[in-house]
């Protein structure tokens, strides 16, 4: 078992990299393909090798190489259109790479789907749909049930347990459209927890929610990572990425930097990741980015922008 500490000895585990833009001042090592790549491949829950992908004739990601170890708590950051959602969809097997290889939990993406829980962006869900909180969480159990079996006592227990973890037990019979934004994110995390996956893929799990809910969700994800589960989450919230995630992947159509959050999230890396969206103010860095604007959506995808939380 590899050490998960960001300060792990440089000789073991895939080292923090900024390949090929490594800046010596960061003491961030460039990934040595000759030595570390096979090692990273063998031990990674998420492994991408020179992946290029897009929609139609538009390229969203180019030459992405990445290995995420089991037990990682990884934030994917980058400006709008950087390919964050696309990267997550590739990992979930929802999109196919044009070139390159992807292996998830030791198999081609999509093969080990029952061990993966993917939570889409909130705008991709029709909140007026006639399902209650517990209905949604129960969906997390459907894949393991298969077609024939109906939800049983074990499944109901898993749902109750997941709802208790996200502290939504009191709302289990509430229609999802009547919940606030933060409560909706909690319900979807509960669905992922109920599925008992080995890999969590979360698209913007902490966007647009209050600080208390954010702390709760991050505590739960931290706990999952501590138990050896792998968590990959996209986020616009750099403060959250810096404070609550062990590792950060900064992308802008390709990997800008990848490593421990304290090393990746410095002004220089951010400047490369965010380009013109970054503003330096008297030593402080401000990211100019709109979390609710996404130019990343492929054709045919329905987005449900909220109309005030109710029908």
């Amino acid at each position: 078992m590899e050490t998960k500490s960001p300060s792990g000895s440089p000789s073991e585990g895939p080292s923090p990299t900024t390949a090929p833009y490594g800046h010596p001042a960061h003491q961030v090592r460039v990934l040595d393909h000759e030595l570390s790549a096979p090692h990273a491949h063998a031990h990674a829950d998420v492994w991408l090798s020179d992946v290029t992908a897009g929609y139609g004739d538009r390229t969203a990601l180019e030459h992405v190489t990445l290995a995420v170890e089991p037990g990682s708590l990884l934030a994917v950051v980058g400006p709008n259109g950087a390919g964050k959602s696309t990267l997550l969809k590739l990992m979930a097997g929802l999109a196919q790479p044009w070139t390159g290889r992807i292996e998830i939990l030791g198999a081609p993406a999509g093969r080990e789907a029952r061990r993966v829980a993917y939570v889409p962006q909130a705008e991709l869900v029709d909140w007026a749909f006639p399902v209650t909180v517990e209905d949604v969480v129960m969906m997390g159990r459907f894949p393991r049930l298969g077609s024939i079996r109906r939800p049983g006592a074990d499944d109901r227990r898993a749902v109750t347990d997941a709802l208790a973890q996200v502290r939504m037990g009191a709302h289990r019979r509430t229609q999802v459209g009547r919940l606030s934004g933060g409560q909706r994110r909690r319900v979807f995390l509960a669905r992922a927890l109920a599925a008992e996956p080995d890999l969590f893929l979360l698209d913007e799990p902490v966007t647009g929610i209050d600080a208390t809910t954010q702390e709760l969700l991050m505590d739960l994800l931290e706990e999952q990572a501590a138990r050896g589960k792998t968590v990959v989450a996209t986020t616009h919230d750099l403060a959250c990425a810096a404070q609550r995630f062990q590792q950060v992947l900064a992308i802008n159509r390709t990997v800008v930097a990848y490593g421990p959050s304290n090393l990746v999230l410095d002004a220089d890396v951010l400047a490369r990741a965010y380009g013109g969206h970054l503003l330096m103010l008297e030593g402080r860095t401000v990211v100019l980015d709109d979390a609710h604007h996404h130019d990343d959506a492929p054709g045919g995808e329905r987005h449900f922008h909220d109309r005030g939380g109710q029908r």
């Binding site: 969809k89 993917y118 006639p130 969906m139 459907f142 894949p143 409560q183 208390t212």
Partner: protein, 305 residues
């Protein structure tokens, strides 16, 4: 009492009653997914697309079910395929196939010399004319559709609510999509004799739409839709017998009436909502935040004296 029992001594009425009840329940169950997916237009299109199949079956002197089923399922799958491959919007591909296939039916129809009353029956439906063999075929197909929904309801629900989450968790969403379109096609085929091509979309959509006014839970919604489907079929058939009116149209009118009642008086309907809507359940633990509409917008305000 005689008014209710007397028609039951007539074998054609009993056959019609069994057939329309079956059609009512199958349409309501499949229609629940149609409404939640927002694809009512597909139902209408597939119904019209069945017409050339019916005419071809007539020309070849084979049971109309076979012709209608082939034409309807083929069109349903074509809609799914064209939308995916041609990269055009679904409503556009439906519009093209819908009109094209119906035109083909009318074209074939016009090549037949003389008046063909049977074929007109499929446009508007006449469940009272259903024969014993057609009834058996209808029941078999109906039970088949219900069995498939019974097997796949979980996957269909997940894929309808959150297609990305469902696909990522290993549910074969694309395969399910084609399966669903085929189910809609078969549902329409068994409804043709009862309500006809033009009105079948009402049988699919209205019960589920009515149920949406009454409940926010999926399982209850499907149950209420099925009850509306059965109830309106029975009531509509009796009404059409007593009043000597077209059976399909009468059933659809009863459904429409039920929908309007639910719209007006249901808990989520126009008047019910004004009274404050459905109460949220009692909470036994403090939520981290209060949902926006925990307190009904028009809850009595304590006015200063």
């Amino acid at each position: 009492m005689d008014l209710i029992l007397e028609p039951l001594t007539l074998s054609f009425f009993v056959r019609a009653l069994i057939a329309s009840t079956m059609v009512g329940v199958v349409c309501a169950v499949v229609g629940t997914y149609v409404v939640l997916r927002g694809v009512a237009f597909i139902g209408d299109a597939i119904a019209h697309a069945a017409f050339p199949g019916v005419v071809a079956a007539f020309l070849l002197a084979i049971p109309f079910y076979i012709g209608a089923a082939i034409a309807a399922v083929a069109t349903a799958l074509a809609i799914g395929w064209v939308t995916k491959r041609a990269g055009i919007r679904q409503d556009t591909s439906i519009g093209v196939l819908f009109a094209g296939t119906f035109a083909l039916g009318v074209f074939m129809f016009s090549t037949i010399n003389g008046y063909v009353a049977d074929l007109f029956g499929f446009l508007l439906g006449n469940v009272l004319a259903i024969g014993p063999q057609d009834l058996v075929a209808l029941l078999a197909l109906g039970l088949g559709v219900m069995a498939i929904v019974g097997l796949l309801w979980k996957e269909l629900l997940y894929a309808t609510f959150d297609p990305l989450g469902a696909a990522a968790s290993g549910i074969k969403v694309e395969r399910l999509e084609y399966m669903f379109l085929a189910l809609v096609a078969l549902t329409i085929v068994i409804s043709l004799q009862a309500v006809g091509i033009i009105l079948v979309v009402a049988m699919l959509v209205t019960p589920a739409a009515t149920a949406q006014m009454l409940t926010v839970r999926f399982t209850r919604l499907m149950l209420v839709a099925a009850l509306v489907g059965i109830g309106s079929s029975v009531v509509g058939l009796y009404l059409s017998y007593w009043l000597d009116t077209a059976s399909g149209a009468t059933i659809v009118l009863v459904q429409t009436g039920m929908f309007l009642l639910a719209l007006a008086f249901g808990p989520r309907g126009l008047i019910g909502r004004r009274r404050g809507g459905t109460p949220l359940p009692e909470t036994d633990e403090a939520p981290l935040e209060t949902p926006v509409d925990e307190v009904p917008a028009d809850a009595p305000v304590v006015a200063p004296a």
